[in-house]
């Protein structure tokens, strides 16, 4: 799940809505050839910014989620993503029932998933389905993370009260135990290595010290920690074999 070694361009982050920034950074992380599940919220936004050749799987029964549909361009809404938003299927898409969609994930056929969170802990625990007074439910998240090897959390760094979402230990009921590999927020990219947070990318308008103040758990700064940017998309061939 490395970022491809391609040209990067400087974007004025300060003018970009944080959720869009996160979605774009997530999209840039996804390598052509992989199949990735995108969860409700920021993750499904990423589908508008993906490189060609990235296959988006959605638990409602599709591989080949494309960009969001423009309202009103078609009469019958027949394709949606995990957020229940209308999308245009990509070339080569296929649809199936939700049983196959989730069975495919439990059995490890999907390479990665991008999910939102209420809390994510330094040991990789994830809480995103219920908290006092707010219980959206787990949807497909529990099924997804029990088989998908690479779990990426795409989230605002803090919640609406300004409290850290990245914590030492989750206080809400868990969605998964020790499953998270990568966290992407509007400020940084962190990896979870051996139950510890490692900062691998940081925006240039925030310092490590400032980031630590809004993060609820200690993190190590990777030796090769880079500036957080959004690489420019690369055109690829749908037929290409990226497996090697």
């Amino acid at each position: 799940m490395d970022t491809l070694n391609i040209t990067t361009s400087k974007i004025d982050f300060s003018k970009m809505e944080p959720r869009e920034f996160i979605a774009r950074r997530v999209a840039a992380m996804l390598k052509p050839g992989i199949t990735v599940n995108l969860g409700v919220g920021i993750p499904t936004m990423a589908s508008d910014f993906l490189r060609e050749g990235v296959w988006v799987q959605s638990e409602n029964g599709i591989i080949g989620v494309g960009k969001h549909a423009e309202p009103g361009i078609r009469k019958v809404e027949s394709y949606c993503n995990a957020s229940g938003e209308e999308i245009i299927p990509t070339k080569g898409a296929c649809t199936f029932d939700v049983n196959m969609a989730l069975g495919m994930m439990r059995s490890g056929r999907v390479d990665a998933t991008v999910l939102g969170c209420f809390e994510v802990a330094e040991n990789g625990d994830l809480a995103n389905w219920t908290m006092p007074g707010k219980s959206p439910g787990m949807g497909g998240a529990m099924d997804i993370i029990c088989g998908v090897p690479n779990v990426i959390i795409a989230t605002r760094h803090c919640n609406k009260n300004g409290d850290p979402k990245i914590v030492k230990s989750c206080s809400y009921p868990l969605t998964g135990v020790g499953v998270v590999n990568t966290i992407i927020t509007e400020y940084c990219v962190m990896e979870i290595r051996d139950k510890h947070l490692v900062l691998t990318e940081l925006r240039d308008d925030i310092t490590v010290e400032e980031l630590q103040k809004i993060t609820g758990a200690p993190f190590e700064v990777a030796k090769d920690c880079k500036e957080m940017t959004i690489p420019v998309p690369q055109i690829v061939n749908l037929y290409q074999d990226f497996s090697s």
């Binding site: 229940g84 787990m138 949807g139």
Partner: protein, 217 residues
């Protein structure tokens, strides 16, 4: 003489009773049997339990039954995209039994294919395994999930024929084939179009008519 399994609005309405468990297809507002929801509302039945993937978007599917106050309890995986459902649940007006989406889908299939229960890892360690039987397979722990059945199954499909054969389109398929399979007392399909026998074609039929009792005309 009746033409196969095609039934009128009035005949369908007669199927609904107070206190039934209704299994409904749909995800968000995609693939929800809206004409059948109309008839549930028209029937005036109350105190329903519903089984569905999620609570739909407000104004669609389960969401409409919820707004009408005819649902006592939902068995579902997600209500986060329906503010009304979230509020009813938070204020205690609606009982919600959450079940992971893949497990829920698999339980509906089990309840329609003679499988009493099955073991999955989904949710292990999160607390949802509490009270469930656990079993080790190849060094990993799994939890027992049991078959789920309803009284009435409401299915949205793209096409139906008079034999009750159904076909789906796009992601409107979602849970509909599983809902159609589920062993309910009555299974009713709401097709976008009714085709002649053989028009769908043997390969394209997803739900054989043997699972379907009524097709709403």
């Amino acid at each position: 003489m009746r033409l196969g399994k095609l039934y009128s609005k009035d005949e369908v309405i007669e199927q609904f009773k107070d206190g039934q468990t209704i299994v409904m297809g749909g995800f968000g507002h995609f693939g929800t049997p809206e004409r059948l929801v109309d008839l549930v509302l028209e029937s005036g039945v109350k105190h329903l339990t519903t089984i569905s993937l999620n609570s739909c978007k407000a104004g669609f599917g389960i969401g409409r039954l919820l707004s009408a106050g005819v649902i006592d309890k939902m068995i579902t995986s997600h209500i986060g995209n329906n503010r009304e459902a979230m509020e009813m649940h938070a204020s205690g007006k609606l009982e919600v039994e959450f079940c992971p989406m893949g497990t829920l889908a698999e339980r509906l299939r089990a309840g329609g294919s003679g499988i009493a229960g099955f073991y999955v890892k989904t949710g292990m360690g999160t607390g949802i395994e509490k009270g469930k039987e656990l079993h080790e397979f190849n060094g990993e722990m799994y939890m027992l999930e049991t078959a789920l059945k309803g009284d009435v199954a409401l299915v949205r499909c793209r096409a139906a024929d008079p034999l009750g054969n159904l076909a789906y389109h796009g992601t409107n398929e979602n849970s509909n084939p599983l809902v159609a399979m589920n062993e309910c007392t009555v299974t009713i399909a709401d097709p976008d179009m009714i085709l002649e026998i053989d028009e769908i074609g043997p390969d394209r039929i997803v739900t054989p008519g043997v699972y379907v009792d009524m097709v709403l005309e």
